[in-house]
Symmetry: C2
């Protein structure tokens, strides 16, 4: 049990929420969010991906937060305040030539997302970002589908790397608080010198509960997004985490400002959150892509049809 | 930790959900729910209140599930199956002359809801229902606002009563899993001979997590409602509890049938669930009535205005 302010909050609204609206956030939206997160005392704002458009198909229509450029960021964030800035990169989608030394960038933290098979490649990127002066995290995705021996093998390399923080990522929103407790203890045992982070999805309405369970067991960096905006079922909502995290000193009111001014109107035109197909993929520990496709079809409210697609062998595509 | 099927689920969709739509459920709706809950293996269906319309103002416009009559119930539930039937009564609103002996009623269980100050009166009702052959529970509401010494005083009388089950009711949706653990242990210590129940609200998106925490610590009866339908932020969703409760043998598919056929269409015309004013009353451990009024006003999306109403002294009404 952690006593005193030991936790740090990373708001991922722009980065993970961009998966909902193809990163179509206005500069005013992002600037207002930065102002609100500063006022709330939130520690980091993940302002997008730092992948390269050259390495991703169909990237032309995406908003600028998908391929962050340092000069653009300097225009957006006119004055840096206390909330640090973060970006995420994916293995195989980042051009290392785009990563300028930290002193020339608005970014403080670069996080590397990878599947377990790509941990070595991810650690090479982490090493490079480290040399260029950034804080770094390694975010192992889809942890619920990783076999424990694979994970323990990976821990050996991770423990000898320079990475600052290792993340427990519940990509499919399928984990429960007891699973989180188990995973945190395993990570702590094998990575005693690393700080830990948690990124939870809300398919089973457990995003907050899992994040609080992680915090209770000593996880330091806690991801969330305002009004829960994130892919599919979304994330642990920032307003809840800010309001409920124990031994912390965050302010709820500025987050509600963002909710009122931007998130409620946005939720009227974009969709994320507790929807039955996302609940079902969460329960079955699957990627939400089938649910996303189903919700874009005319049958979107046919809960049984979707359930049968995933459970009846000859119906499953 | 409980091993084996020790839990029982009570679906409260009609009773608690009736607080949303003034009990305006069709007979077909209720019959279909009964069929689905039976198919899912749910143990109890709370089919309404058994209060008296003579003792409640403005009762004329309410649907029949607010004032259950035994002959009406016999028409609705043509054939009793394995799911038992339950009704709730409130102190001061029930006419004991309406309670026929159990063998003449479709009801199996009568639950008595009370505030801590009315425990004695509630136990008198419990005694009477017990004598007429019913199972009984005592549901102490607004537990988050009860002082521990009051509770311990009440436990003495409760422990000497005939009541079968004593409920932990998070009326304001303000409790967290660690609070639930604390309360369950206290109830177990002072009421070692009683079975326990849990009724959680979802203001902080913790309805499921709190219900699972209660179950993990030995609470036997678990309340929920389909698609979370219940007053204000609603309840722990039945589909999640049925799908995720460990060591149980419930079927999810029939609950999804109810969600698809009735609940998704109903949610399009009635409102419950995670709405910011309900989140705020939950966080401040208050009754949701101020949030309900606010959401019926033209300012309903002005999250900051509502927050300030509850926090700035000279703005609070």
């Amino acid at each position: 049990m952690i006593v005193g302010k030991k936790h740090k909050i990373i708001d991922c609204t722009i980065r993970d929420g961009g998966l909902v609206n193809n990163w179509d956030f206005s500069v005013e939206f992002v600037q207002h969010l930065y102002k609100c997160l500063n006022a709330a005392g939130v520690d980091y704002m993940e302002i997008g991906y730092k992948n390269s458009p050259k390495l991703l198909k169909g990237s032309e229509s995406s908003g600028p937060w998908r391929f962050l450029k340092d000069d653009f960021l300097q225009e957006v964030i006119e004055e840096k305040q206390t909330t640090k800035l973060s970006a995420l990169v994916d293995i195989g989608r980042v051009d290392v030539n785009d990563i300028v030394p930290r002193e020339k960038s608005m970014l403080d933290l670069i996080r590397v997302a990878c599947y377990i098979k790509d941990v070595d490649e991810a650690l090479e990127l982490v090493q490079l970002f480290h040399e260029r002066g950034y804080e770094s995290t390694l975010n192992i995705m889809a942890l619920s589908n990783v076999k424990e021996n694979q994970l323990i093998e990976a821990f050996k390399r991770i423990s000898h790397s320079v990475v600052d923080v290792v993340y427990i990522v519940d990509s499919y929103g399928s984990l429960m608080p007891s699973d989180i407790q188990y995973l945190v203890k395993m990570f702590q045992k094998h990575l005693p010198s690393k700080r830990l982070g948690a990124h939870m999805h809300n398919n089973l309405q457990l995003g907050l509960a899992n994040t609080l369970a992680a915090a209770d067991h000593g996880v330091e960096l806690l991801d969330c997004s305002v009004y829960g905006m994130g892919r599919a079922a979304g994330n642990c909502p920032t307003e809840l985490l800010v309001g409920l995290l124990k031994n912390s000193n965050y302010s709820l009111r500025p987050v509600l400002d963002m909710v009122e001014k931007y998130m409620i109107p946005l939720r009227n035109i974009e969709e994320w959150g507790y929807l039955i197909p996302y609940m079902i993929t969460g329960m079955f520990d699957e990627h939400p892509r089938s649910a996303m496709a189903f919700l874009n079809s005319p049958d979107r409210n046919m809960a049984l049809q979707f359930y049968d697609m995933l459970t009846v062998p000859n119906v499953k595509s």
